[in-house]
């Protein structure tokens, strides 16, 4: 065997260039860590009395002011409504845009790009910022919160719907096309059965997220339990803050349980 042939049979997982770039990446990561550690500005005085501050805060929270349960529950019901209605509106808007984004359903680059632009816009603006925007348009209240949740969720749900559609088995679609099915029939009997589990999974997951997100929208006046939280915080009634926080915690856990059990049933 010649030397050249011997060299050809020398197998390594990475090419020298790949090795170099991997090393460069590790070096960069370590450097970044060192530099960031050196620039953390912790004021020592704050750190020293942190334990006292924390115990003080918990002492003020205990015992929770049970008389505050009434406004908290009202706020919570509003929060659930905001989250649910917001999710439904988001899905209604995200499905058609998701169809435009899926490259196999809409083989048009300009339309795909437009849909992706809508998704990025929706996702890159925080729900609190969406809420501020809608409070400015419609005034404070749950309507602004609902729309904020809806617009924030379009990007998330739409992007995932589009991906689910792109993963649908192309063969089944081809078979329906070959049978002379219209576009609508192909969507309803070819794509929909294939993406149905993903669809419900995405919708429930987003509803779960939206319950948490809508709980704080009241801080900018967009309705829900956040209004009760904001009031209590501003008045420094920590025993009332405690009631609201516990209530939110319980609802988030309950939502989690509901979503998990429903999801195992539909999948």
């Amino acid at each position: 065997m010649t030397v050249a042939a011997q060299l050809d049979r020398d197998w390594q997982r990475f090419t020298p260039l790949k090795r170099l770039s991997r090393f460069a990446f590790y070096l960069f990561a370590v450097l970044a860590l060192v530099i960031s550690l050196r620039t953390i500005d912790v004021i020592p005085e704050f750190l020293y009395d942190a334990p006292d501050q924390m115990t003080d805060l918990f002492k003020r929270m205990w015992p929770p002011d049970l008389s505050y349960i009434q406004p908290t529950l009202q706020g919570l019901i509003e929060t659930l409504h905001i989250a649910t209605l917001g999710t439904i509106i988001a899905i209604v808007l995200a499905v058609p845009i998701g169809l435009l984004a899926a490259r196999n359903v809409t083989p048009n680059f300009a339309l795909n790009l437009f849909a992706k632009f809508v998704f990025v816009t929706s996702r890159s603006i925080n729900s609190l910022v969406w809420a501020l925007l809608f409070v400015a348009v419609f005034g404070p209240g749950p309507l602004a919160g609902t729309l904020a949740i809806a617009f924030r969720s379009i990007g998330f749900t739409g992007k995932l719907f589009a991906e689910a559609m792109e993963e649908a088995n192309a063969g089944s679609i081809e078979a329906l096309t070959a049978a002379g099915a219209s576009r609508m029939s192909t969507l309803l009997l070819g794509y929909w059965p294939q993406i149905r589990p993903a669809f419900w999974s995405i919708a429930l997951f987003r509803w779960d997220i939206n319950i948490r997100e809508s709980a704080v929208l009241g801080i900018v006046g967009a309705g829900g339990v956040g209004v009760a939280l904001d009031t209590a915080l501003n008045l420094l009634y920590w025993d009332q803050v405690a009631v609201v926080l516990i209530a939110i915690f319980v609802v988030v856990v309950l939502a989690e349980i509901v979503v998990t059990s429903v999801r195992t049933r539909i999948l």
Partner: protein, 268 residues
Amino acid sequence: MQGQVSPLASAAPQGDDSRALVLRGLRKEYRAGQPVLRGIDLVLPGSGLTAIIGPSGTGKSTLIRCINRLVQPTSGEILFRGQDLAKLSGRSLRSARRRIGMVFQEYNLVERLTVMENLLCGRLGYVPAWRAWLRRFPAQDIARAFDLLDAVGLPGFATRRADALSGGQRQRVGIARAIMQEPDIILADEPTSSLDPKTSVEIMEILHRFAAERNIPVIVNIHNVELAKRFASRIIGMTGGSVVYDGPPQGLTEADLKTIYGGENWME
């Protein structure tokens, strides 16, 4: 090529020519200047089972997909039932497609639907989308589907989900779905390539039976030369995007196979 084809065309059974298929100068280039089909001229009679054999990548699949326009031919004519299929688009293409049944190598069922729903998918060219969505198919379609399930040997499978079936069972559903279309022709693209030898024979028997009983011409792409010879009344050998053999199965010699597949060691 034309000279080789014409005698067979005239030998086609008279009276069935309403379902005859004529390809003229059919050409397909996925990339400009690299033809996969180099001007195919064929006259396929309006009955019987025709097998297309040839090595992988020789354009058999492309040829069959050009006929129902899953692939757009670059040039040429596809004459069927008084229309040039190559020129159709939109609604007229859809209504031409619903009379062309297709059977696939990977069955291409909608996995999460039941067997009955998959069969009814064969009616999507006839039934409006909203009725299909609500599963309100005409009663005679449902009755037909039950009859076809019996005919392909799957009685009692109507409510089973497609993803719970074996390969052979799925292909039976695939064939039944194609017949649901009340097709004037059936295209089968490697219908047995994913199946074991015994099931392959059963599937070919079903296709052969439908071709004979219902007088539907069937065109089958197939890799297995023995199966092709056993079931086809006519064999078309392709290589490099051209037809190099066109005749009865008895006439297929070792020399022909050598021309089609190249080399000879594999034949031993």
